[in-house]
Every structure is written in C-alpha cells, then in structure tokens.
C-alpha cells in the first residue's frame, strides 16, 4: 500500500493516533466558532422588522438542520466504504455519527417548532420541511436501534449499511412525497452562494460562523465517538482472547 494512501487512516491504530492528535484542535475550533457565532448572533444582530427577536433562532436552526442532513450523508458514505472496502473504522464512524445526527434533527425540529409558534400561531404544523425532518428522525432511530439489536459487530455493520442505503432512498422519496402531500409555509433557502439572495448582511457572517461551529462540533463528536467505538471493539476482542486462553 502506498504510504500516502488515505486508507492508511482506516487502520484503527493509525486512526487512534492521528485522531487523538487532531481532536484537541477540533474542540478548540468548535468552542471558538460556536462562542463567536452564537454570541455575535445573540447579542450583535438587530431584530427583524417582522419576526422581532425570534430571528435569532436562525443561528441554531439553520446549522442544526444542515448537520442533520449532512450527518446522514456522512453515514451513507461511510456505509458505502464499509460495503466496498470493508474498513472497520468506516463502519464504526457511521455508528458514531448516528446519535449526533439524531440530536441535530431534534434541535432543528425543536427550534423550528418554537420559532413557528409566534410566527404561525401554533407549535406544530405539518409543513413539508418539518415533516421531512420528523421522518429523518425516525430513520435515525431505526438505524440506531438496529445497531444495538445485533450482537456480532461485523454483521451489525453489514445490516445497518443495507438499512442506511435503503433509508437514504426512502428519506429522499419521502421528502418529495411530503411536498406533494402538503404545500409549505417555510421560506426559501436562507443561505446560498449568491450573496444577493441571502438573508440580510447583518445575519450573514454570524450565521456562517455558526455553521462552521456546528460542522466542527459534528466532526469533534464523531471523532470522539469513533475512538470510543474502536476501544469498545478492542475491549471485546481482548475479552474474547482472555476467554479462550
């Protein structure tokens, strides 16, 4: 194997070494970005003329919603790597990411509901986007439950990878079906690459920093949890070793 190959990091020992060195920096970046972005957003942005101070929820709602979807995409990629190349770290990273994605989904749903209450006059509407996130949350629950239900780690990795593939297709299908089922109250995308179409400049930079903070938070948590999963696998292997000795 080529020494510069990225698959080098798929070796658990190598992964532990590199991630252990990187993790403090990730945590520092997370703390810095989240503190800056959220403080700027909370203290340093004006109220919206229509939505009042509720617009500050944007700085949690949008990054959490982004990460809820990106976490699933990361799990999909990791599952594919496991199926195709059978790198154990990849399967464990998918397992580690699932609860993080689920919590991000809950945050997106909760902040959406709290935000919607004064705007729409009700805590919950079956708005297509909220509903899609609700569906995504159920997929997360199923995925986590399947991991926990199977004793053999490699078999669990195989079966959850199949579920992740099927779930990805159906999460996407559900999204379009839900848009067919109900037209929404949501505003269009709040952030795009074209700054003219963006939310007001006053919100742009703090939002960007918050998104960076959430991405770093996700990465830190996934690294930490993957390290834990690797240790759990090694512990299991050592216990097997002792039991046979």
């Amino acid at each position: 194997m080529h020494p510069m190959s990225i698959w080098r990091y798929a070796n658990p020992v190598e992964f532990l070494r590199v991630s252990g060195a990187a993790l403090p920096w990730f945590w520092a970046g997370t703390a810095l970005c989240l503190a800056t972005g959220l403080a700027w957003g909370f203290f340093g942005t004006p109220d919206d003329y229509r939505q009042g101070s509720t617009v500050k929820i944007l700085f949690l709602h949008v990054p959490a919603a982004l990460m809820a979807i990106n976490a699933w995409l990361m799990m999909l990629a990791a599952s594919l790597i496991w199926i195709i190349r059978r790198h154990h770290v990849s399967a464990l990273a998918a397992r580690a990411a699932a609860p993080v994605g689920a919590v991000m989904t809950v945050i997106a749903l909760f902040t959406g509901a709290v935000w919607g209450q004064p705007m729409w006059g009700t805590w919950w509407v079956w708005d297509p986007r909220l509903t899609s996130f609700f569906i995504l949350f159920v997929f997360y629950l199923g995925y986590i439950a399947l991991w926990n239900a199977i004793d053999e780690p490699d078999r669990a990795a195989d079966l959850t990878a199949v579920l992740c593939l099927v779930g990805s297709v159906f999460a996407l299908l559900s999204r379009y079906a839900v848009f067919f089922w109900s037209q929404g109250l949501h505003q269009g995308p709040s952030l795009s690459l074209d700054r003219q179409e963006n939310v007001d400049n006053a919100f742009y930079w703090p939002l960007l920093i918050c998104i960076a903070g959430f991405i770093l938070l996700f990465l830190s948590l996934v690294l930490l949890r993957t390290r834990t999963e690797i240790r759990a696998r090694r512990l299991r292997a050592l216990q097997n070793l002792q039991a046979r000795a």
Binding site: I135, V138, F139, L141, G142, A145, L146, A149, I150, R155, D158, L159, V162, L163, L165, V166, G167, F170, L173, S174, Y176, A177, V178, F180, W181
Partner: protein
C-alpha cells in the same frame, strides 16, 4: 412443476394451513376499523373525513403484523439455508415469498376495504379509487416489509424493531395511496397520485428483493 410454482404453492399452503395465520391480518384489520368510531364518536360526517386515513393505516398495520413470520420460521428450521443453495436466485425466492404474502394478507384487505368503507361513511364515488389504490399499493407494503423482515431475521423478538424499520418506508406509499382516494372525494382528478403510486410500487417490486436478499445472505453467514 416449475421451481417458481413450487415455492409459491408451498408458501400459500403454509399460510393457509393451521398456524399459518393467513386470516389473522384480515381479522386485525376488521378489529381496528371497529375500534376507530369508539375513539372519534359515531358522527357520520366526522367518520367520513377520517375514513381514508383509517382504512389505509389499518391496512398498513395489518400487513406489518405478519411480516416477522415471512423469513423467521424458515430461518429457524434451516429451510432458508437450503433455499439459498437452490437453483433459484435468492432474489426470486424473496419475490415469490412476498407475492405469497400479498396474496394471503394484502389481497383480502383490498377486498374487505370497500365493505368497511361503508361503515365509515366513505362517499360511494370514492370506493372504486379506494380499491384501486389499495390494489396497487399493498404489494409494495409486502415487498418493503421483506427488507425489514430480512434485516431482523436473526434477532429474537425482533417484531417491534421490524415495525420501527419498516413503517417509515411506508410513508410515500401511504401518501400517494391516501391522496388518490382524497382526490376522488374532493372531486379533483385522482389519476396523478394513482399513477405516482403505481410507479412507486413498480420500482419497489423491482428493487426491494435485491435489498432483502442481500440482508438474508448476510444473516445466513
């Protein structure tokens, strides 16, 4: 007798013999529909507004009920090992088992649904669309259920997990199926959702056996 007919005939025979539980799904469906008015009150107008949702969700749950038997008994008595080594591809075996499941569970629901719709005061004009949407949609329920059944086949008492895995997969089918009947009630054109439902079902019939067979092979290792 061809291998295809052999598998299908055996599945049907097993479902219809004692302990097969072919009628249980239908009985469950009847019971659910019986309970609904106790929850909502007997007002016919109110019942009419929820009839479509009740019938479709009742069908969904009745279908779910028997899914854990789809592969579990064959897995436990070793039949699945031999089926996996037979000349039939695993995907075909899965598809045939799903077809048998639909014939013994889904089809009775399709036939019973319009009768029960009358008790829920569903407008008569919508009844043909209810039959059509269920006839087109319930095969997808059996085939999607096979994925969940295959994933949980090695898990003891996996029935609850199976429902958590399978029910979210039913969402698009439920949306288009119920939308067809609702459109008929509202007087709009019910064909677009019915066509979407048909396309969805065909795609599921084509692809689900591959996912289920892959999961079964993993569980047979």
């Amino acid at each position: 007798m061809s291998p295809l007919r052999a598998v299908l005939g055996r599945e049907l025979r097993l479902a219809l013999r004692s302990g097969g539980g072919a009628g249980l799904g239908l009985a469950f469906f009847l019971t659910v529909i019986l309970l609904v008015p106790f929850g909502t009150g007997p007002d016919p107008d109110r019942l009419a507004t929820i009839a479509v949702g009740t019938l479709w969700i009742g069908a969904l749950l009745a279908c779910l009920l028997s899914l854990d038997r789809l592969f579990q008994t064959d897995f436990e008595d070793g039949t699945l090992d031999i089926l996996a080594l037979s000349p039939l591809p695993m995907e075909m075996t899965v598809a045939l088992k799903c077809l048998a499941h639909w014939l013994t569970t889904g089809l009775p629901l399709v036939i019973a649904a319009p009768v029960l719709a009358i008790t829920l005061n569903l407008p008569g004009a919508a009844a043909p669309w209810l039959i059509a949407s269920l006839a087109v949609g319930t095969p997808a329920l059996s085939f999607l259920g096979a994925i969940g059944g295959a994933l949980t086949v090695g898990i003891r008492r996996g029935g609850l997990l199976l429902s958590i895995l399978v029910l979210p997969l039913y969402i698009p089918t439920l949306i288009f199926g119920a939308a067809t009947v609702r459109a008929a009630i509202d007087g709009t054109d019910p064909t677009p959702p019915l066509l979407l439902l048909t396309g969805l079902t065909l795609a599921i019939l084509a692809l689900a056996p591959f996912a289920a067979a892959a999961a079964l092979r993993i569980n047979l290792r």
